[in-house]
C-alpha cells in the first residue's frame, strides 16, 4: 500500500493530508497548524503531526507534494504544484461532477473552472487586495468582539442586511463601528458583511464560467453564513465537503499519489514536476 502526502502552506494556516492507495484513494490523516513566521517549520509540523495521527513514520510516505504560497519552503517535499491545480483536483475527487470551484482562503479567493478529470480549464484570483477573503471576515469579527466561528451563524439571523460602503479589509472596521453607533443589530451588520463579500466573490467567479456543480473550498467554507450568502447571490446550491478546508492538501496528495504511479493519468505531470521541482 502506497502512502502519499499533500502539504498546503497557506498565508494563515498550514494543512497536511495523507492519502493511502488501497483499491482507491483514501484520506487516512489530516493536520492543521498556524503558518506563523516560520513557514518551513509550519510545514514540517503539519506533516509530522499528520504522520503521528496515522501512526506511521514519515519515511513511509512515498512522495510529498507541496502547495500554497509557502510551497517552495517545504524542504522535505518532492515537488510543488500551485494551489489552483490542487484545489481543482481535490474538489473533483471529493465532490465528483464539480465544474466550478470557489476557494476562499485567508488572504486570497479564487474561482476555477474545472474539467471532468479535475484539470484546470480557467481561473481568476482576487487582485492584490484582501477584500473578499477570510482576512476581511476575521477583521469584521474582531471589531464586533466575536470569534470567527460565531459570525456565520449570527449572520443567518439577519433580517435587514446593512449596506457596506466598502469591501476594504482595513476600512471595514470604521464602517462596522459606524453601524454599531447607529444601533444596528449585530446580525444585520454581519448579514451585510457576508453579502458584500459574496457579491464580490461571485463577480470574480463570473469571469470564468459559473457552471454547476459548484464546490466551495478553503477555510471560509466552514462559515455557514458565507456559504448561504454565496448561494443566495449565485441562486445555486454549493457543494461543501467536510474536508473543504483541506482541499488544497488533498489535491496535492492526489498528485503525489499519481507520481507514485497509482493513477490512471500517471505520467501526465512528469514534465511539470521536472520543470517546477527544486526551485
Amino acid at each position: 500500500m502506497r502512502i502519499a502526502a499533500g502539504v498546503d502552506v497557506g498565508s494563515t494556516q498550514t494543512k497536511a493530508v495523507l492519502l493511502q492507495e488501497n483499491g482507491g484513494f483514501k484520506i487516512i490523516a489530516r493536520a492543521l497548524t498556524q503558518t506563523g513566521a516560520n513557514v518551513q517549520k509550519a510545514a514540517e509540523n503539519a506533516f509530522e503531526e499528520c504522520c503521528r495521527a496515522a501512526g506511521i513514520p514519515t519515511s513511509d510516505v512515498g512522495f510529498v507534494v507541496g502547495t500554497g504560497y509557502g510551497r517552495y519552503k517545504i524542504t522535505f517535499g518532492n515537488a510543488q504544484m500551485t494551489e489552483i491545480s490542487c484545489h481543482a483536483r481535490g474538489a473533483q475527487f471529493l465532490c465528483p461532477g464539480t465544474r466550478t470551484v470557489i476557494d476562499m482562503g485567508g488572504q486570497d479567493s479564487k474561482a476555477i473552472s474545472v474539467g471532468p478529470s479535475g484539470e484546470v480549464l480557467d481561473f481568476m484570483m482576487n487582485d492584490k487586495c484582501a477584500a473578499g477573503t477570510g482576512r476581511f471576515l476575521a477583521n469584521a469579527a474582531d471589531v464586533m468582539g466575536l470569534s470567527l466561528d460565531e459570525i456565520g451563524p449570527i449572520s443567518l439571523q439577519c433580517k435587514r442586511p446593512v449596506k457596506m460602503a466598502t469591501v476594504c479589509t482595513v476600512f471595514v472596521e470604521s464602517d462596522i463601528l459606524s453601524y454599531l453607533s447607529q444601533g444596528k443589530k449585530a446580525e444585520d451588520i454581519l448579514g451585510g458583511v457576508h453579502l458584500a463579500i459574496a457579491k464580490r466573490t461571485v463577480s470574480l467567479a463570473r469571469r470564468v464560467a459559473v457552471e454547476p456543480l459548484i464546490t466551495m473550498t478553503g477555510g471560509v467554507a466552514n462559515n455557514i453564513g458565507m456559504v448561504r450568502a454565496l448561494e443566495e447571490v449565485l441562486g445555486q446550491k454549493l457543494q461543501i465537503s467536510p474536508d473543504a478546508h483541506y482541499m488544497g492538501a488533498v489535491g496535492a496528495a492526489i498528485f503525489a499519489m499519481e507520481k507514485l504511479g497509482q493513477s490512471f493519468e500517471s505520467g501526465i505531470w512528469r514534465d511539470a514536476y521536472a520543470t517546477s521541482g527544486g526551485h
Binding site: I84, E119, V120, D122, M125, R207, T275, S276
Partner: protein, 425 residues
C-alpha cells in the same frame, strides 16, 4: 542557475544597442551643457522622430527614461519626488518618474536632463499625456506645442484626419525654425523618412522570424533591447546599420534552429508592458517554464510595422501623419487590438495569451478584463491575466504573480499532455 543563463540572447546587437543609447544620453548631456543639438521632449507612441532630423534635433523620450530608471531599480526616488509635490499614488508612474527626473535634473545614466527646445505633446493614444506635457513645460519653462492626433475611430483614418495632422506638422516645423534659428532641411527630413522605411522593413522581417519554431528571440523581453534604437535612431544611418546587424544575427540563429531555450515548450503572445522594476524576476518566471513570447503588443507601441505599413519618402509628411494616426498600438481602437492579438496567436502559432494589467496606466489597461473574456470565451485561447505596474515597484507582489504564472503553465502543460481544449468556447 545554468538553465536560466540560456534564457537571454546576448549578441553583438546588445553591445551596439548599449553604445547607441549611451550616444543618445551623451547628446542630451551635451545639450544640457549648452553644447549639444536642439532637443524635443515627445512621446514614444507614434513618435515623429523623422521630423526632428530636419533640424538635427534629438528626442527626449520620457518613456525611455522612465523604463531605464525602473530597470536599474532607480524609479522610486523620482516617483516619490513627484508625490512630494502633490502627485497622487494612483497617477501614471511614468509621469511621476519623468517629472521627478526634471525636478532632480537627472537622466538614468547620471547625466543631466536638458531644458527641451520644445515640449511637443504628440497626443497619441493617451490623454494623460496632455497634462503630463503641460507639467513638463511648466516645470522646464519650455514652449509647448499640443499636436492633436485623433483616435482611430474606424478601420482607417479619414482624409480629413490626415490633413489635420499634416497641417499641425507644418506648424511644428515653423515653430522649430523660430525656436532653433535653423531652417528646416526638407532633404534631410526626406532622407530620414527613407531610413525609417528601411529600418521598418528590417524590423518587420525580425518580427516575422519568431513565427519559426523555436523562435530565435523572445518578442517581448528581447524585443525591448531593440526598441530603444528603434525609437531614438530609426531615422538615421546608425539605426539602419544597427538593424542590419540585428537582422543578420537573428536570422543566423533562426537558420541554425537556435531558440531562446534549449527546448522551447510554450509559445505566448503578451499584451501590456513588463514590470520594469522587476524585469529580471518577471522574465525568470516565464523562463522557468521555457515559455517564449513569439509576439507582443508592447513592441508595437512606437509603431506597428509587421503588417505592412512603411514610412514613404515620396510622401513624408503624410506618412508621418499615417504613422501617428493608425500605425501604433495605442492610437488604434480596441477591436483592432483584439484582432492584432488574434493574428499573432494564429499566425505566430501561440499556445496562449498573457495580459499584464498596468495599475497606473488606466488608458492602456482599461478593457483588458473584456479582452480576456474575448480570448477565453469566444476564441477558446488560454489567457492569463496578471497585474502590477510598469514603473512603480510598490505594485509588484512576487508570490502572487508567480502563483498565477505557475498555475497557468500547469494548466497548459496538462492540456498539451492530454490534447484537451482549454478555456471555454
Amino acid at each position: 542557475m545554468a538553465e536560466q543563463s540560456k534564457t537571454e540572447y546576448r549578441g553583438g546587437i546588445h553591445q551596439r544597442q548599449k553604445e547607441l543609447m549611451l550616444d543618445w544620453y551623451g547628446a542630451l548631456d551635451r545639450s544640457a551643457e549648452g553644447d549639444g543639438p536642439p532637443t524635443v521632449s515627445m512621446m514614444v507612441s507614434g513618435n515623429c522622430v523623422e521630423l526632428l532630423e530636419g533640424f538635427g534635433a534629438v528626442p527626449i523620450y520620457p518613456e525611455v527614461n522612465a523604463l531605464q530608471l525602473a530597470i536599474r531599480h532607480q524609479s522610486l526616488e523620482p516617483i516619490l519626488a513627484a508625490e512630494d509635490i502633490g502627485y497622487a499614488s494612483d497617477n501614471c508612474a511614468y509621469v511621476k518618474a519623468d517629472i521627478g527626473c526634471y525636478l532632480k535634473g537627472i537622466t538614468p545614466t547620471g547625466g543631466k536632463m536638458p531644458k527641451p527646445t520644445l515640449v511637443l505633446c504628440n497626443f497619441v493614444g493617451c490623454n494623460t499625456y496632455v497634462k503630463w506635457f503641460e507639467h513638463v513645460a511648466e516645470i522646464t519653462g519650455s514652449p509647448l506645442y499640443m499636436l492633436d492626433v485623433p483616435f482611430l475611430r474606424t478601420d482607417a483614418p479619414s482624409q480629413a484626419d490626415i490633413a489635420y495632422v499634416v497641417r499641425q506638422l507644418h506648424e511644428v516645423v515653423a515653430l522649430m525654425e523660430k525656436l532653433t534659428g535653423r531652417k528646416f532641411d526638407f532633404a534631410r527630413f526626406q532622407e530620414a523618412v527613407n531610413y525609417s522605411r528601411q529600418v521598418e522593413e528590417l524590423w518587420s522581417e525580425i518580427k516575422h522570424m519568431s513565427k519559426h519554431t523555436p523562435a530565435p528571440f523572445d518578442a517581448y523581453f528581447d524585443a525591448i533591447t531593440l526598441m530603444g534604437p528603434l525609437y531614438v535612431h530609426r531615422a538615421s544611418r546608425e539605426g539602419l546599420d544597427f538593424f542590419e546587424i540585428a537582422r543578420d544575427e537573428l536570422r543566423a540563429k533562426m537558420q541554425a534552429n537556435e531558440g531562446v531555450y534549449d527546448q522551447e515548450k510554450f509559445r505566448l503572445v503578451v499584451e501590456g508592458p513588463p514590470p520594469y522594476p522587476y524585469f529580471r524576476t518577471f522574465r525568470d518566471m516565464f523562463a522557468k517554464w521555457k515559455a517564449c513570447a513569439v509576439a507582443s503588443t508592447y513592441s508595437t507601441v512606437g509603431g506597428l510595422w509587421e503588417f505592412g505599413f512603411r514610412h514613404d519618402p515620396e510622401h513624408p509628411f503624410e506618412s508621418v501623419a499615417m504613422h501617428m494616426l493608425a500605425n501604433n498600438v495605442t492610437n488604434r481602437n480596441y477591436l483592432q487590438r483584439y484582432d492584432q492579438i488574434r493574428r499573432y496567436v494564429q499566425e505566430w502559432n501561440a499556445d496562449g495569451v498573457v495580459i499584464h494589467f498596468v495599475k497606473s496606466c488606466r488608458l492602456f489597461s482599461a478593457g483588458q478584463g473584456d479582452m480576456r473574456d474575448y480570448f477565453t470565451k469566444q476564441l477558446g485561447i488560454p489567457t492569463l491575466y496578471i497585474e502590477s505596474d510598469l514603473e512603480d515597484p510598490r505594485y509588484f507582489a512576487e508570490a502572487q504573480t508567480k502563483n498565477r504564472i505557475d498555475a497557468f503553465f500547469e494548466t497548459l502543460e496538462h492540456a498539451k499532455a492530454t490534447g484537451k481544449q482549454l478555456a471555454h468556447v
